[in-house]
Symmetry: C2
Subunit: 130 residues, 2 copies
């Protein structure tokens, strides 16, 4: 049982509707003004639905020390092929004031009040309601 291997990986990428989780991690994040905001650290998946609840953007810190993590609703991220990164339509200040956590501890992902606060901040529908 073989597959359609005639499309090279690079060709497939251009129109590829899918992206590997490992490729999302490490991708740079900018805002529409071109400011570099950080990079994607990981994605948080809803176990039941298999939906990305948040992309976790990391910024600051060095070798993991002092790094901050922002859960960002997936729908807020737009991939810009020209820049090779995701674009978030908000100022650096607005993003820096967004809900975040650090290596001291992850938020309680089960807490919907928290989840709602994150989604409200970005003006998106909570992932569990979509």
């Amino acid at each position: 049982m073989t597959l359609n291997d005639t499309v090279s990986p690079s060709m497939a990428t251009s129109s590829n509707p899918l992206i590997a989780g490992a490729r999302v991690a490490g991708t740079e994040v900018y805002n529409t003004a071109g400011d570099h905001l950080g990079e994607i650290y990981d994605v948080m998946l809803d176990k039941k639905t298999g939906k990305v609840a948040y992309a976790i953007m990391s910024f600051g810190g060095f070798l993991g020390l002092g790094e901050k993590y922002h859960p960002i609703p997936w729908s807020v991220l737009d991939f810009d092929p020209a820049r090779g990164g995701y674009v978030v339509p908000m100022t650096k200040d607005k993003l820096e004031a967004a809900p975040m956590y650090d290596s001291q501890g992850e938020p309680d992902w089960d807490d919907r009040t928290y989840g709602k606060r994150v989604h409200d901040y970005y003006g998106t529908m909570p992932y569990w309601m979509m």
Copy 2:
């Protein structure tokens, strides 16, 4: 702006509705009979909807050589905390005959005929119809 950091990561994990993509990768996969089938290599995300289209299970090979990759619809995987891995309700033979690819080339993810074949094999609805 701080978060609810009072819940330790380990406590949060038990009832955690979310899981990090990086934690999914590397998780072992078994079948209901207890046979070890392989491990999760990565997840393929639908860029537009942010939904996991497939978990990619790898098996065989050594240091990436000769390894085979199976795209498995997310809904087929059941996490078994006792085993610390995912359980797939199918025999080893049935899984070994499932659509797969190797390091020679990824399938054309944009090809819905291919996608439908994968989903049909597992008896699940295609990810783009859910």
